[in-house]
């Protein structure tokens, strides 16, 4: 291998190693492959590195012992059990709190009827009457508007008919 190495320069060796470890791109690997076909030295080196690369890839991962995690729990997560259960507990408690809050709101909303004083009721009565009076004035004004402004400009049954309908409907005859 030493003599082979001497024939193959360092740059080519690096390329062979990269190809063997599958670091190189496809084109580069193809180049090395064709080079290996032509050159026995390249082929030998490539195969050696390829073998070890495969061995390295097969190394099983080390697993962290449970004891590390257990002792970690003791040191930093004393309430670990509570933490594990916490999401569910938090959800349930939040649900209860929010349900209670909204139930109270709903109950208050439904039950809530404003209480009015006598003065307020009397004022409301006055306002209702005034509102109706306003509407009546508008209806009456409408009638007079049509009679005074529209009719003089237009003469005809349809207009007159409209007027009487308005008169009946709005004023009550």
């Amino acid at each position: 291998m030493q003599s082979n190495k001497n024939k193959i320069d360092e740059e080519t060796l690096d390329r062979i190693i990269s190809a063997a470890y599958k670091d190189a791109g496809l084109i580069e690997r193809l180049k090395i492959y064709f080079l290996a076909k032509k050159n026995a030295g390249v082929k030998s080196i490539y195969n050696e590195y390829r073998t070890n690369a495969d061995r390295v890839k097969k190394i099983p991962p080390e697993e962290c012992p449970d004891s590390v995690i257990e002792s970690l729990k003791i040191k930093t997560m004393k309430e670990n059990k509570f933490f594990i259960l916490k999401p569910a507990y938090v959800f349930i408690i939040s649900l209860i709190v929010i349900s209670t809050f909204i139930a109270v709101l709903l109950y208050q909303n439904k039950e809530k009827k404003p209480t009015y004083s006598r003065a307020e009721i009397e004022l409301a009565e006055k306002q209702v009457k005034e509102s109706l009076a306003i509407v009546n004035r508008i209806f009456k004004r409408t009638e007079s508007l049509i009679q005074e402004e529209v009719l003089p400009k237009r003469v005809g049954k349809p207009i007159h008919k409209s007027l009487s309908i308005i008169n009946e409907v709005l004023i009550g005859g």
Binding site: I121, V128, A133
Partner: protein, 181 residues
């Protein structure tokens, strides 16, 4: 993470039911005039806003003395009146507002039964009818250049004849202005 999602959905659903809208706003006869506060000037502002709660109480109180009024009030959800004094400052704004409301009402399928326009006065009367041809809403918009602009919305089962009759009955000259609440 999934708990969080369930919580959020739960909160949204319950919040909607807890904070439901007022009843009258769901009525077909309800109409929102929008913001009219820009037309307020000085003391020349009148506002009446009576929801069904207070209307029921008035109906109860007036049952003996004013049975026709009481009967009418029992069927109402809302009486809303805004009156503004018309001046040079707000006249154009009020006219434009009335025009805008006209378009909006027509687009919302309100029947315009009276429309007068021109000169110094504007009067528009709209009604909303149900499938059974009961009137469920009344809107009135008026402007008198030398007087007032009025916006009225009455929501509920409306008998226009009765409104007219009662209005005439209550149109007592001494009751010129309603006390501002």
């Amino acid at each position: 993470m999934k708990y969080g999602k369930f919580l959020v959905i739960f909160i949204i659903l319950f919040t909607f039911s807890a904070f439901a809208q007022n009843e009258y706003s769901k009525e077909p006869g309800y109409f929102n005039f929008g913001d009219l506060s820009m037309f307020e000037q000085g003391d020349g502002v009148t506002e009446v806003f009576l929801e069904s709660n207070i209307l029921q109480l008035v109906a109860t109180v007036t049952e003996d003395e004013e049975p026709e009024l009481s009967a009418m009030l029992n069927g109402l959800q809302l009486v809303k009146v805004n009156v503004f004094e018309v001046s040079d400052k707000n006249e154009n704004g009020l006219r434009n507002k009335i025009d805008d409301l006209d378009k909006k009402l027509v687009s919302q399928k309100w029947d315009r039964i009276v429309r007068t326009k021109g000169g110094e006065e504007v009067v528009n009367v709209y009604i909303k009818t149900s499938g059974k041809k009961d009137i469920e809403g009344l809107v009135v918009t008026t402007l008198d250049k030398s007087g007032e602009a009025v916006f009225v919305n009455i929501v509920g089962i409306i008998d226009l004849k009765k409104i007219g009759k009662l209005g005439a009955k209550f149109d007592i000259p001494t009751l010129d202005k309603i006390d501002k609440q």
